[in-house]
């Protein structure tokens, strides 16, 4: 039923422009839907069946978005991966997912050359698995966060109401399409509300100069940025011209998503652009974003991530003292489970709550997030497994113990530091070269620590935050 309702979106808004790509090519809701049907045919020809897991390993494109929807209606499971992941890790992920198809170049799908003869009755309307997001377990091994279509579409619908998307919304898509920010906040949610999406290139310093060209041209009125992009903008555009400032003043909403928006970044953006940025909060496991700041009063409160919809429940449990409680969430859009080598794991308590391991407090139905106890941090909006970094370094026999931490950073959000203690009589300089090499060869560039610090001994307790609080003083 959820899929039928979703399919109707394409009929209701049939003639409306849905997507404009970076070259200016316009795609209506009808054209997009037809491309989805063609893609299902192509994927079926490639041997995809119900529950086939399709790894997507390419840069942002409109075809990427088409495949995400094709997986929903085809009954397949989209498995987006960061294209910068190293080959060895892709092999491990492929084995875990039991995936038989990796799509590396989405242009090769040749959508325009495929004739449309798929009967819509062949579409899969069951509530099947549709999305598997890559993550890492406590041992640093890959896991997948698996979702059913009802969770993804339900969460998208709920968030589109929270963010007040409608058919007048014009949203810029500049976030990576391999994680929730680029999938749910800036794709499924605007889709469900009949919005228009302007697909831009993924934001980097190199293309930053022209960042505002597309939004100005297409009169965007809604923007989703990671705190890192916001921080970069506050330096790159600190002497913005009138055209940019006038354009920014027309925005209905600018949201920060993906990680904590630090007060200094928020204040600097306001000083330059005279526009408020509102925070969102969510995590992949709970189906993406579930809280959003809605009013000016909440803007004045540091670390406030706003309020949530009625169907979501939040509770806190004492953690590290005042203001640092564990945040538990109960939501109908929760993942089906973690896909691990031992099977599917669904970590909820007896009352259905999930421990996010994020730390903050919940007051008068408003959530505040200040830190996390997770071994997964967010750097530049991307999920980084500290366990994976530690495990990679520990491959060297000269290392006795390691501990990785994320430290607050204006641009990165969290910057990674790796503490290392060596076995006796090991030359530190030589060890440093070896550690740097093994990290560079096995990790994505974004996962490589900013600095490696040597300690004679690392005494660790079971709580990550306690270890972090102790070691962070040494940086």
């Amino acid at each position: 039923m959820v899929k039928k309702k979703f399919e109707n979106i394409f009929k209701i808004y049939s003639k409306r422009i849905f997507i404009i790509d970076s070259r200016g090519i316009k795609i209506s809701y009808k054209q997009f839907y037809e491309s989805v049907l063609k893609t299902i045919l192509i994927l079926k020809k490639k041997g995809c069946k119900k529950n086939t897991k399709i790894i997507i390993l390419d840069e942002n494109s409109v075809n990427y978005l088409i495949i995400l929807v094709a997986c929903i209606f085809g009954g397949f499971v989209a498995c987006p991966l960061d294209p910068s992941i190293k080959k060895e890790r892709i092999k491990k992920i492929k084995k875990l997912y039991k995936s038989k198809l990796i799509l590396k170049d989405l242009k090769e799908l040749k959508l325009s050359k495929t004739s449309l003869n798929l009967d819509s009755r062949e579409l899969n309307y069951d509530d099947t698995d549709c999305l598997l997001i890559n993550s890492y377990g406590k041992n640093g091994e890959p896991t997948g966060i698996l979702f059913k279509s009802s969770s993804i579409l339900g969460s998208a619908d709920s968030f589109s109401k929270l963010a007040k998307y409608n058919n007048k919304t014009v949203i810029l898509h500049c976030l990576p399409m391999f994680y929730m920010g680029g999938i749910l906040d800036t794709f499924f949610s605007p889709l469900i509300s009949g919005s228009k999406i302007i697909v831009a290139e993924k934001f980097t310093v190199l293309n930053a100069k022209n960042f505002w060209a597309l939004p100005i041209q297409h009169k965007c009125n809604t923007l989703f940025l990671t705190p890192s992009i916001i921080a970069l903008m506050t330096t790159i555009f600190r002497n913005s011209n009138k055209t940019i400032l006038n354009h920014v003043s027309t925005y209905k909403s600018i949201f920060a998503t993906g990680s904590i928006l630090y007060p200094e970044v928020r204040k600097k953006f306001f000083k330059i652009f005279k526009k408020r940025i509102f925070s969102c909060y969510g995590s992949t496991e709970i189906g993406g974003p579930l809280c959003i700041q809605k009013n000016r009063a909440s803007f004045k409160k540091n670390f406030c991530v706003g309020s949530h919809s009625k169907e979501v429940k939040i509770k806190e449990k004492a953690g590290y003292g005042r203001g640092f409680n564990y945040i538990f969430v109960k939501t109908p859009y929760f993942m089906k489970g973690y896909l691990t080598s031992k099977g599917l794991i669904r970590p909820i308590d007896k009352k259905g709550y999930f421990n996010t391991e994020d730390l903050g407090y919940y007051y008068k139905k408003t959530l505040f997030i200040k830190d996390t106890n997770r071994a997964i941090i967010k750097k530049g909006g991307e999920l980084i497994s500290l366990n994976l970094i530690e495990k990679t370094a520990l491959q060297l026999k000269s290392i006795k113990n390691v501990f990785a931490i994320g430290k607050t950073d204006f641009y990165a959000g969290q910057e990674i530091f790796l503490f290392v203690s060596l076995k006796k009589r090991i030359n530190k300089e030589r060890a440093l070269k070896k550690i740097n090499l093994i990290l560079k060869n096995n990790l994505r560039p974004v996962e490589v620590p900013k600095k490696i610090l040597f300690l004679d001994k690392i005494n660790l307790v079971s709580e990550r935050k306690k270890n972090k609080d102790q070691l962070i003083k040494l940086i």
Partner: protein, 80 residues
């Protein structure tokens, strides 16, 4: 500390690299640490070190250790 040493120090501190890495004209995105985020941290450190404010085009065009020296000349900072 002379300008050359200051310049080298910013690179070494921002990217946690040794001096020998700078000899081969280090470029943007050739080491994991010099990504968009690392780039901006380095720019902020250079601005602090030389008490200057880069223009937008110069921030974006600062694509290598060598190019950076040329850009700094515009701000009357000579790295010999």
């Amino acid at each position: 500390m002379d300008n050359k040493k200051k310049y080298e120090k910013v690179f070494m501190d921002s990217f946690s690299i040794s001096k020998d890495k700078l000899k081969k004209d280090l470029k943007y995105n050739t080491i994991p640490q010099w990504d968009s985020v690392g780039h901006m941290s380095m720019i902020a450190a250079l601005e602090d070190a030389f008490n200057i404010t880069f223009e937008m085009d110069d921030i974006i065009d600062f694509s290598s250790y060598k190019t950076g020296k040329e850009i700094l000349k515009k701000y009357k900072v000579n790295i010999s």
